[in-house]
């Protein structure tokens, strides 16, 4: 173990436009509200245009480097199955992955240049990763808005965090109250459904 022992490392991954950065921003705010030092960093070259987005959130008594090294993530939040597979080697041996079962094919796959993995979740499991997968999109569709996927994913990891799940929920609801009050209630429900789906 390294000196970053007491720092919690969460890697949130997905595709541009899925809300990965918003999710990690909310996680960071929740951690700050608990008195932690936080660093959050992204590699999102041209995320706007459907590229890979990976966002690192680190919190603890004092955080130095913003980057999570391969093999050091405590939690991997995968907004898309193949992306979770791409990043799963970032997990610690005992780390956990929370994966949205969604498969989003990029044009290079559509064009037949590369195959989409037949069973990305299975591939991750084969690596001995502790993993929970579910269809966040289905829940979002039931609630009537696909943008809820990121709140659902936050709900799903809430019980794996070192602070109360309610803290994270409050941050999300407050954020919506401030920006889009009409959506606060639905997001609270999405959070609860995500939380339930993780058990």
């Amino acid at each position: 173990m390294t000196a970053s022992n007491k720092v919690v490392n969460i890697l949130v991954v997905g595709i541009g436009g899925q809300g990965v950065m918003t999710a990690s921003e909310i996680l960071s705010e929740a951690a700050i509200s608990q008195g932690y030092d936080v660093k959050k960093t992204e590699v999102a070259g041209m995320s706007q245009r459907g590229g890979v987005v990976s966002s690192h959130v680190r919190f603890g008594p004092r955080v130095l480097s913003p980057e999570i090294a391969p093999g050091e993530a405590d939690i991997l939040v995968g907004f898309e199955a193949a992306e979770a597979m791409r990043w799963c080697h970032y997990l610690r041996p005992e780390g956990v992955a929370m994966v949205n079962r969604l498969n989003l094919e990029p044009p290079v796959v559509s064009l037949g240049l590369y195959p989409y993995p037949a069973d990305p979740v299975g591939e991750i499991r084969k690596q001995g990763v502790r993993l929970h997968d579910f269809d966040a999109g289905a829940i979002a569709r039931e609630l009537g808005d696909l943008r809820l996927v990121n709140t659902i994913m936050m709900g799903a990891i809430a019980d794996a965090l070192p602070f109360p799940a309610e803290t994270l929920k409050e941050r999300i609801v407050e954020r919506f109250r401030a920006r889009k009050p009409a959506l606060a209630e639905t997001n609270a429900r999405a959070f609860d459904l995500g939380r339930a789906a993780a058990h």
């Binding site: 173990m1 390294t2 000196a3 541009g16 436009g17 899925q18 809300g19 921003e25 960071s28 700050i32 030092d37 936080v38 660093k39 959050k40 960093t41 992204e42 590699v43 999102a44 070259g45 041209m46 995320s47 706007q48 245009r49 459907g50 590229g51 130095l64 480097s65 913003p66 980057e67 090294a69 391969p70 093999g71 050091e72 193949a82 992306e83 597979m85 799963c88 080697h89 997990l91 610690r92 990029p106 044009p107 290079v108 796959v109 559509s110 064009l111 037949g112 240049l113 590369y114 195959p115 989409y116 993995p117 991750i124 690596q127 001995g128 990763v129 009537g144 808005d145 696909l146 943008r147």
Partner: protein, 623 residues
């Protein structure tokens, strides 16, 4: 007046801020009057944030050189001036910089330059700290947002104290990392109430400029003394004297994380290198290691001073230096085996790449579909979203080097053509913002020297690549307020292109675009085809009713796939034998109706008319 102005959080607030946000706040807190920039990742957001602050003038400049000149002018007027750019921007601005360093400043003059260490979205990875050496300037290198805030403020003070422009060197890992920042009290500082005419100082003819060289060299000496005692530099004690580190910028955080017990010389004011402090550290430790991103600048200078040090002999000379890379490099020096955590616990799994794509319905799609249908063309390209035309499925862009280069390169391809290219046409593709940044001069050169080049000027009313910022072609300023809009047709005509060879074409009208392009490439001499539909990410864009594919009617010809719209997905592939006996590949498709904005491009490529309007069934959003 800008309606979006921010109520800046009070002094003393602790805020979660990116490095870019922190720099912006500090520029405002430093009482800066004028701030200018041309967009460029990772620095773009600095000016976006600054445009939200009151009592400060912010602008999008047409290029980085102009942004620096605007900041210089503000400094001469007695105000604090600031400009921000990505690393390659300073190459463009360098001409002004190299002489302004002789003239000095009145109001503080700070240049933020953001290096894209790790190539997240740039054409090279150059180390801008070289400019500090080349131009005899102090270089400050913050390690995180809090330091970005403090050092930006310190930079203005240093600038005025030492009569010098100051380089604030950022990297992607400072610009885009968020952490908690305590912000201070705003102080409005003005060095002078008016511009003082002083030709000996501001008119850089040889006789005047020459007289400033001794001043600049004296300033070098003063700065070399200042770095030894600057509060931005500190020698941190450590309990393990085996290794001592000299480090700057975000690499400091990585060093502290990887080697918590080591003595560290942390340099925030990193040029000139404080050799006295380095010697002090060297005397305490068994081996000295210089950790810097990316080139061995401090290392070379330290070694030249006769101090033994390791650096790029054991560490990568490109890319970032995160803790696991450092530990791996240092393990060899210490004769240790790298630990599992530093080489990863599990293997990385093989997954398809996910390169960025053009947006659904992007007006560039029509252009590249058309270019991909043309035979015998060499296509000189430029930088912007349209660079993606080099990729699948279009493969219709053959060069890309630097902003505006498509023009000159096209002319050179024409003038230098050999027998193998005798029948080839030369086409150049350039975006509106890139054209205004550095392309106009190249087109003037094509016109003046009568090149056989067909220029496609893609006017999408935005700087698409960096997020849709305003520019002189968009008709709005940084505050979103109406501004004079360049008339591209008139501009191009004024540069010397024959009026009859200038065409405005709707890029969604494939037959018209194809015909115009084919006819123009057949004729000798220069011509310009301007496409005139907006980027889909800006508010000028209007969505139309979406489409779907009638599966029964789709013959699998795959033509629509060649458009390259990300809303079109192949559902099934097959092979068929034509009556001629030739085997053809079939690709059956569906359209993701929720994402389709009804631009009509794919419809025009579908012979059996299998693409038809869809009735939306479900409230979905397109992000």
């Amino acid at each position: 007046m800008n309606p979006n102005l921010l109520q800046p959080p009070a002094a003393g607030s602790r805020l979660l801020m990116s490095g870019n946000e922190a720099v912006a706040r500090a520029v405002w807190d430093a009482g800066t009057r004028v701030a200018a920039a041309y967009p460029g990742t990772p620095a773009t957001e600095i000016l976006e944030y600054l445009s939200l602050y009151p009592d400060l003038y912010a602008e999008w400049s047409v290029n980085e050189k102009v942004s620096l000149e605007v900041a210089i002018g503000a400094s001469l007027a007695g105000a604090r001036g600031f400009c921000a750019m990505k690393h390659v921007g300073l190459n463009v601005a360098a001409d002004a910089l190299m002489t302004q360093t002789l003239a000095g400043v009145v109001g503080g003059l700070v240049i933020a330059v953001a290096d894209d260490v790790g190539f997240s979205s740039s054409q090279n990875e150059q180390d801008s700290r070289y400019w500090g050496r080349f131009a005899h300037l102090p270089v400050l290198e913050p390690a995180d947002s809090q330091e970005a805030y403090e050092m930006t403020r310190a930079a203005f003070a240093l600038s005025e104290q030492y009569n010098t422009p100051v380089l604030l060197r950022l990297t992607t890992r400072v610009c885009h990392v968020k952490c908690l920042v305590s912000v201070g009290e705003r102080q409005v500082v003005r060095a002078a109430d008016q511009f003082t005419k002083d030709p000996g100082r501001w008119v850089m003819v040889p006789a005047n400029a020459k007289r400033h060289v001794p001043e600049m060299l004296a300033r070098d000496k003063a700065l070399a003394a200042a770095v030894e005692t600057s509060p931005l530099n500190r020698l941190e004690a450590g309990s393990n004297p085996r290794l001592g580190f000299v480090t700057s910028g975000p690499a400091y955080m990585h060093v502290r994380e990887a080697f918590p017990d080591a003595p560290v010389l942390k340099l925030g004011f990193s040029h000139p290198v404080p050799l006295g402090l380095v010697r002090q550290l060297a005397d305490q430790v068994e081996a000295l290691v210089v950790v810097e991103e990316t080139e061995p600048l401090m290392e070379t200078e330290i070694k030249a001073a006769g101090i033994a040090a390791h650096g790029k002999d054991i560490l990568p000379a490109a890319g970032e230096l995160p803790p696991h890379i450092l530990r791996r490099g240092l393990a060899a020096l210490l004769g240790q085996q790298p630990v599992a955590a530093d080489v990863g616990q599990r293997p990385a799994l093989e997954v398809f790449p996910r390169p960025p794509t053009m947006c659904v319905a992007c007006p560039h799609l029509g252009v590249y579909y058309t270019l991909s249908q043309l035979r015998n063309v060499n296509i000189s390209g430029d930088i912007g979203c349209y660079t993606l035309g080099a990729g699948h499925p279009w493969n219709a862009l053959d060069t890309c080097i630097s902003m505006g280069a498509s023009m000159g390169i096209a002319l050179g391809l024409d003038k230098g053509r050999g027998p193998g290219d005798e029948n080839k046409k030369v086409v150049a593709v350039i975006g509106d913002s890139t054209f205004l940044h550095m392309g106009m001069q190249g087109l003037l050169d094509i016109a003046y020297n009568r090149g056989n080049v067909t220029v496609l000027l893609l006017d999408n009313r935005a700087v698409g690549m960096t997020g849709g910022q305003e520019n002189p072609g968009s008709g709005r300023d940084i505050y979103g307020q109406p501004a004079p809009r360049v008339d591209f047709a008139k501009l191009v005509e004024a540069l010397g292109i024959d009026k009859e060879r200038i065409h405005m074409v709707d890029p969604y009208q494939l037959p018209v675009l194809f015909k115009t392009l084919r006819e123009e490439t057949k004729r000798p001499g220069p011509s310009v085809i301007i496409t005139d539909r907006p980027c889909v990410l800006i508010d000028h864009y209007q969505k139309q009713q979406p489409y779907e594919v009638d599966e029964a009617a789709c013959t699998g010809c795959g033509n629509c796939v060649e458009v390259g719209c990300p809303a079109i997905h192949v559902t099934r592939r097959d092979k068929a034998i034509k009556p001629s006996g030739k085997e053809v590949e079939l690709a059956f498709v569906k359209i993701e109706t929720a994402a389709c904005t009804g631009c009509d491009l794919c419809v025009q490529t579908c012979a059996p008319k299998a693409i038809r309007h869809a009735v939306p069934t479900f409230p979905v959003s397109i992000n």
